[in-house]
């Protein structure tokens, strides 16, 4: 005879939710998980919602994508299109293009869904970029989050693939020329290039396989990888707990914020609806990718303003800037197209390598193996911030170079001059941006020091009986001060001496020396935070400058003659 035993102290659930939770828990032990998550504390700051831009626009992409997949036919077979718009009626085109037109003009809401889908794709990549910027500039990639940074960078690359494969699906002239350029880049790869081109297109360009292949890539392979990596990304974020900005009570050993249920989850849900709303508004009112204006793909036409979507502009720009002389014929009569390999393979390779290795390089030059959960204020890490701005500058210059013909027409400039200017700026710009940013960060740090030592200027001038004028300063309160002193000014690495006590040369010394040099580049210039001793010294110089915090009336104290204003 079986007996059911109930836990002696648990009360019977009465509500529907309670009963369902009980049912589930008796079969899955989900209570353990719920215990961790329901009131989990998340710090609250708007800059932590940038990743959500990417996440929620991806959800919108999935939703709108299902709608589109119901109507899109990825075949390259030729058909005569009958119907709207008037400029396409009776024209010969691929079935893929024709189904796109039908979807836009004959299916109610079809054009809306297409436009929401495309705007969401642009916002998806933009969201990844701004989120990555926040993570980089605040140092959230440090231990234990290096793996999550790698996952995120891979998500960035996958998002580019998703976008490229997606906008090539309608088989129009604009994206078709983009595919032609891709074929040209593939062909330029040494030794295997022509075979790789044959492989991708299943024959010569364009063939009749590429659109169906891209369709599979776009709705199955890439989204599956993205979903899996998003899962890993969010799992790691929950496991490691979210980082937090420096402030009172916030340490590397705690999280200060709001519980997941209800406040945080509600805000997140609200954010989803707001983002979806913005995308719906854009999809309904701003035209995007009107493929009937470009026409069905044919190898003959091309239109002015032939660019890919914004996130591929950096590739387009580097292709435009590279001078052509770099193609060489090697020994053996083989053609090495450096004029294409450098901008399309090597430059992006360098940019992505920087992203992938940066956390590890920085960990090595600081010699820091601790966990970090409190974020850096960007000004307190001037070299990192400078490098980030330099990277962005390079990226933006390439994107602008990719738009050089539009810049030429809108600003009445010569496209050749613009190209030359960007050729120079690509090298000079990031260096200059690094230098300016680093100096600004150091300046801001010094300003913070001044503020801590001397307090806020109140604008109130006091005249003493002996004729001396002073400006009254209000000292910072505890929270304000803590924000400005709670950081570590890193020092350059120290290395063990070249020879040990007995004079034997140490292996690995040369490599250590190189890392030390890099570490000096990072940390030689630094501003230390104010210590209590320095603050006391500053007070000793100018006692009568002070007011008690939150007091209304100043206390007039007799002056002490010459007062040193500098610290």
């Amino acid at each position: 005879m079986s007996t059911t035993t109930t836990p002696p102290t648990a009360a019977e659930p009465t509500t529907v939710i309670g009963k369902s939770a009980d049912y589930l828990d008796q079969r899955t032990k989900v209570g353990v998980l719920a215990k961790q998550l329901v009131r989990k504390v998340f710090p609250d700051h708007w800059s932590f919602m940038l990743g959500e831009i990417a996440l929620f626009s991806f959800v919108v992409l999935l939703i709108s994508g299902v709608f589109l997949a119901m109507f899109f036919d990825p075949s390259m077979a030729l058909t005569t299109h009958h119907g709207a718009p008037a400029t396409m009626d009776g024209q010969l085109m691929s079935v893929a293009f024709s189904s796109t037109l039908d979807m836009s003009f004959d299916v109610r809401g079809g054009l809306l869904m297409r436009q929401i889908h495309h705007w969401s794709a642009l916002i998806f990549v933009a969201g990844i970029v701004v989120h990555m910027m926040r993570v980089f500039f605040t140092g959230a990639f440090r231990k234990p989050r290096e793996l999550n940074w790698l996952v995120g960078t891979m998500l960035l690359i996958l998002s580019l693939l998703a976008g490229f494969s997606g906008y090539s699906l309608p088989d129009d002239v604009l994206s078709g020329n983009g595919l032609r350029i891709t074929d040209g880049v593939i062909k330029s790869i040494p030794i295997i290039g022509s075979y790789l081109s044959w492989f991708v297109f299943g024959g010569e360009f364009p063939g009749e396989h590429i659109i169906p292949r891209l369709f599979t890539v776009h709705i199955l392979l890439v989204p599956a990888l993205i979903l899996a990596l998003i899962g890993v990304h969010l799992f790691l974020m929950v496991l490691n707990k979210h980082t937090q900005y420096p402030g009172g009570g916030r340490t590397d050993k705690n999280v200060v914020g709001y519980p997941a249920v209800p406040a945080f989850a509600t805000k997140m849900g609200g954010n989803f609806f707001i983002i979806f709303g913005v995308l719906a508004l854009m999809g309904g009112t701003m035209a995007i990718n009107n493929v009937w204006n470009y026409g069905p793909y044919d190898p003959s036409p091309v239109s002015a303003g032939a660019q890919p979507d914004w996130y591929m502009l950096f590739l387009e720009g580097s292709l435009r800037l590279m001078p052509g002389q770099a193609e060489i014929v090697t020994w053996g009569d083989y053609t090495l197209s450096l004029n294409i390999l450098v901008p399309a393979v090597i430059i992006p390779g360098l940019l992505f390598t920087f992203l992938f290795v940066y956390p590890f390089v920085e960990a090595k030059v600081t010699g820091d193996h601790r966990e970090h959960h409190v974020l850096d204020r960007p000004r307190n890490v001037p070299t990192r911030t400078g490098l980030g701005v330099a990277f962005l500058t390079a990226f933006i210059i390439l994107a602008l170079a990719g738009s050089n013909d539009l810049i030429a027409t809108h600003f009445a400039l010569s496209i050749n001059t613009i190209t030359w200017v960007f050729r120079v700026l690509f090298f000079v710009g990031p260096v200059f941006a690094f230098w300016v940013t680093k100096r600004i960060c150091l300046g801001l740090q010094r300003k913070d020091r001044e503020l801590v030592l001397h307090g806020h200027e109140t604008g109130r001038i006091v005249r003493f009986a002996n004729g001396e004028y002073i400006e009254v300063h209000r000292p910072l309160d505890e929270q304000e001060r803590w924000l400005r002193v709670n950081y570590e000014a890193r020092r350059p690495l120290e290395v063990e001496p070249a020879t040990d006590a007995r004079g034997v040369k140490r292996k690995g010394y040369k490599q250590d020396k190189r890392w030390q040099k890099l570490s000096r580049f990072f940390y030689e210039d630094r501003v230390e935070p104010v210590t209590p001793a320095e603050l006391a010294a500053a007070h000793a110089h100018g006692e009568h400058d002070e007011l008690e915090p939150a007091h209304d009336t100043p206390e007039l104290v007799s002056g002490s003659g010459n007062v040193e204003r500098e610290h």
Partner: protein, 259 residues
């Protein structure tokens, strides 16, 4: 006056003063700016009138008999269509040196333009001004026009005629405000950098089809605001400005502490 004086240190005072100064300057300029020279007008298209106009406005660069100089090409054989195009769009007389002669407010009215065209046509046989029926877009086939446009025209003028860049500061202008007649004439005569699309290359009916296609573009886009029809670059720009702008604005609002 006292009230005005009392507000002289208001933070908007400089703005108001600036606006006033701009208004006054603009007004004075509008009143006193010189107007372009007008030659004697005749009421009918007249080769003689045209010749006089030519001597006054064109001969300095094109030569007294339109034979051309080092400054400007010969106009013998360009035809009335070329003259009508160049003068009615204001490109000629050219006022400023630059990579190309740009469209500007026309200097000659309808009759003067017709007179000039008649005069130049008399110097040598060339393309004639098309009839109204030849340029009537409503009689053309926009689908065929689009097929022709995207092969022959879109690479310079953009897929819907929004304009595009050429080398060295030259450009193919947008076609949105171009008249049907001038579209025809531009194709026919190949002004400046534009190649010549004579009637054997693009037949008169095909030219009309292209005009029909361009007329369709006046309806705007089925998807909402056209954003200039400039393609992915402008779409990306607006995605950042409006999309990311609004969304980050929302995020800042969500993260801000409520009062």
């Amino acid at each position: 006056m006292k009230a005005l004086a009392a507000r002289r240190h208001h933070r908007f005072a400089p703005v108001v003063l600036l606006l006033l100064a701009l208004l006054v300057t603009g007004g004075v300029y509008a009143a006193l700016a010189p107007s372009p020279a007008q030659a004697d007008t005749a009421s009918t298209a007249d080769i003689e009138t045209g010749k006089k106009l030519f001597q006054a406005n064109c001969a300095t660069c094109h030569g007294p008999n339109a034979e051309g100089t080092t400054e400007a090409p010969s106009l013998v054989g360009v035809g009335a269509a070329a003259v009508d195009f160049q003068v009615s769009t204001g490109r000629m007389p050219m006022q400023m040196n630059g990579p190309q002669a740009e469209a500007k407010p026309r200097q000659m009215d309808e009759e003067q333009t017709a007179a000039l065209a008649a005069y130049v046509a008399s110097l040598g046989a060339g393309p004639a001004i098309p009839t109204d029926e030849q340029v009537d877009g409503s009689q053309g086939d926009p689908a065929n026009g689009m097929a022709l446009f995207r092969t022959n025209c879109a690479m310079c003028h953009n897929a819907v005629g929004a304009g595009g860049a050429l080398s060295e500061g030259k450009f193919a202008p947008p076609l949105t405000d171009t008249s049907e007649r001038n579209i025809y004439q531009a194709m026919l005569t190949g002004p400046q950098s534009m190649p010549v699309f004579n009637d054997a290359n693009i037949t008169p009916d095909e030219k009309r089809d292209i005009i029909a296609f361009l007329d369709e573009q006046d309806q705007g886009s089925a998807g909402g605001l056209t954003l200039g029809s400039l393609g992915p670059v402008s779409e990306g720009l607006w995605a950042w400005i409006i999309g990311i702008g609004l969304i980050i604005g929302g995020a800042v609002w969500i993260g801000a502490k409520s009062s």
